[in-house]
């Protein structure tokens, strides 16, 4: 039995009592994970745009500096947009947290290994880019601490959570992008958002 963290337990803990936290879910398993924790108007799960999750989080965090933004994504998705770590570190948004569920696999395409299975350390890369905080997370106790830091908004924060490469049933969010966008904007900005 693997001692690695289980991604659905981690996401459930991170989103417990989420309040008005805004959540971007990266393409693939992280989108199913945030939906497993409970579909929510302030979730924006991605059905595409691989490599873009962290940058969507940055645009949102800059637009809403008083609100907290959490990006949950996977190691494969993060590896495709590594430059974003540099771009985000330069902007230093206090209200943005990026949490990578690192199972060292491309889970949606047949569990092929990613670079993180061969020594590439995303947390070290985030630190080198300029994130002051980039913990590696290995226990549920550390996940609870991470949750507090996300909600405290003392970022920019990057965290790499090593998770079990388990195969799980998909939990699908709505997939109409325009609907996902509009429900998010109405929840955040009010009904007038549709008149802008």
């Amino acid at each position: 039995m693997s001692k690695l963290l289980r991604r659905r337990e981690v996401v459930t803990e991170l989103l417990k009592g989420r309040g008005d936290l805004m959540v971007i879910g990266g393409l693939g398993a992280p989108a199913w994970d945030i939906t497993h924790a409970g579909d929510h108007d302030l979730n924006f799960p991605l059905w595409g745009a691989m490599g873009g999750a962290a940058m969507i989080g940055l645009g949102l965090a800059l637009a809403q500096p008083k609100r907290k933004v959490l990006v949950v994504t996977g190691d494969g998705e993060m590896l495709m947009g590594l430059g974003a770590l540099a771009t985000i570190a330069v902007q230093r948004p206090r209200n943005l947290s990026i949490v990578v569920f690192d199972n060292e696999r491309y889970g949606e395409t047949g569990m092929q290994e990613t670079h993180t299975a061969h020594g590439v350390d995303l947390a070290a890369m985030a630190k080198a880019a300029g994130f002051a905080q980039a913990p590696g997370v290995r226990t549920m106790g550390e996940v609870s601490k991470l949750r507090k830091r996300i909600h405290a908004g003392e970022g920019a924060l990057f965290a790499q959570v090593k998770v079990d490469p388990e195969k799980l049933p998909l939990v699908l969010p709505p997939r109409d992008g325009s609907y996902l966008k509009n429900r998010f904007r109405v929840a955040l900005l009010g009904p007038d958002a549709l008149q802008q």
Partner: protein, 182 residues
Amino acid sequence: MKKTADPSWPDEVHALLSAAGVRQVAVVPDAGHARLIRLCEKDKSMCVVRLTTEEEGVALLAGAWLGGEKGVLLMQSSGVGNCINMLTLPIACQFPLLMLVTMRGDHGEFNPAQIPMGNTTQAVLEAMGVIVKRADRAEDVTEMVSGTLRLAFNTYRPVALLIGQRVLGAKDFRKLTQSVPK
């Protein structure tokens, strides 16, 4: 090389963007955008976000719109190829996106490596479903920005304005071998 001396369009475009409430300015620099970038950097109501690659800007501005802010992506035509899959976001979700693209591989180009992307910029964007307009005279740029800005934000679509190399003047590589520009 024919180059418009001290063109006024960057100032007019900055004023237009400001009046339209554009707050996030995503940038991979190009010489043709240098003055506009400087104006945006000086503008305290704007946040200039330097990118490592243009597709980051497509994602950034989707996030900005989710959060209620307008943005613009300033880039060179070479960067259009970097954006293609990320354009899924504004197309599938109907996000407004204004891309102001200064052309290379266009009028009077010197560098052969600029041709493949420059010569296909419009076709590639249109193949993805982006609305594309062009400005090939300095006096047209401001009006075309005004029109494309409204198209993007009124109809929730990705729209690209290609600013032709004829407006900007081709980079004179041979001259740069003779002296270092001030």
